[in-house]
Subunit: 204 residues, 2 copies
């Protein structure tokens, strides 16, 4: 790999080092990005740096669903057009965006901020699970949809949440698992295919 001492400029070296601390950005990519910035107008580079600083200092999290937002409540929680009786539990902000993109869901969300993962030292107390329980106990919610990753950690978290809220009488559902659209059956892994058979639904 490239030796740090061979950067021709300390400013360059510092910027490359900072950029290469981002996930998935190695020192060669960081150098390429930084040299690209040097060819851009000062205004553009300042705008990039400013947008990062402003985001980090100005970002807020919705007090209800913990989604990222610019004010006290996110646009989904404060929208009059959403069904307030349904709450979809997701791991992170990207999942909210992915579900919103389907345009198939008109309820509210609850962003856990992660998933129970003993291997990574993440327990229930590190996640927004207690605030979910309180939301459900406060009443008005009829259905909680669990939309976590179809993994061991997702299953664990699903079960933990279920146990916490089943006594409230709320309906707890989980998103369907099965073969993905346009996947070829012969290349589908056996666990997925097995579950798809067990979980078959009436046709038509």
């Amino acid at each position: 790999m490239m030796n740090n001492q061979q950067y021709p400029s300390l400013l360059l070296q510092k910027a490359v080092n900072e950029m290469s601390r981002l996930p998935g950005i190695g020192s060669k990519t960081a150098l390429r990005l930084v040299l690209h910035m040097l060819r851009q107008d000062v205004v553009e580079v300042d705008s990039l740096a400013q947008s990062i600083t402003e985001l980090r200092h100005g970002v807020r999290y919705c007090q209800v669903c913990h989604n990222i937002c610019d004010s006290e409540h996110c646009s989904i929680c404060s929208s009059p057009n959403r069904d307030r009786s349904m709450v979809c539990v997701v791991e992170n902000v990207q999942d909210v965006m992915a579900i919103e993109n389907t345009q198939q869901y008109k309820g509210l969300y609850h962003v856990l901020g992660g998933i129970i993962s003993p291997m990574d030292g993440i327990g229930p107390a590190d996640l927004e699970i207690q605030s979910l329980v309180e939301r459900v106990e406060a009443g008005g919610i009829k259905e909680v949809i669990l939309a976590l990753s179809p993994t061991m950690e997702g299953d664990t978290t699903n079960f933990y949440i279920y146990r916490k809220i089943r006594d409230t009488g709320v309906r707890v559902t989980v998103i369907a698992r099965g073969v993905a659209q346009n996947d070829e059956l012969q290349y589908t892994d056996e666990v997925t295919l097995g579950r798809a058979l067990v979980g078959r639904t009436l046709f038509g």
Copy 2:
């Protein structure tokens, strides 16, 4: 692709848009990087933004070789240990770093800042060719090593430079082309292999 309107925060959307203007960074990668920054300490994110701003405002180019540097002359041009009679002509800063990493070269450099490429609208006047000619004419340089890309554009630029400086009597050389170390012969392209045969050297 993701619709801009679905970002839950304007600050987030702005930062993602800015990041995704960098080469090779799509909107999904930009979102991943930006959400990573949100999980970092404010100090670290400020440090990243500051390093970019400081680089863009503070960067200088060596008045002799046009390499990136922090002062009037780069560390190579101002080093007493370099052979001032040799100048290696390269396309960009990364090429200087790559050659320095070989530890096989103790002369000076001349960074063109690009390569002649009519398709991209880059002509000789857009590059540091005139300043190279002036360096050579000023005397003291015995050899100019052309180390541009082994492409049509590189060949064109090599030939242009050669015509400009051949009358000064300076020795003009070009880095060797042939089969790359550890490449398998059967997978080497025919142009490279053909040139390697034509350009064969005495063994031992």
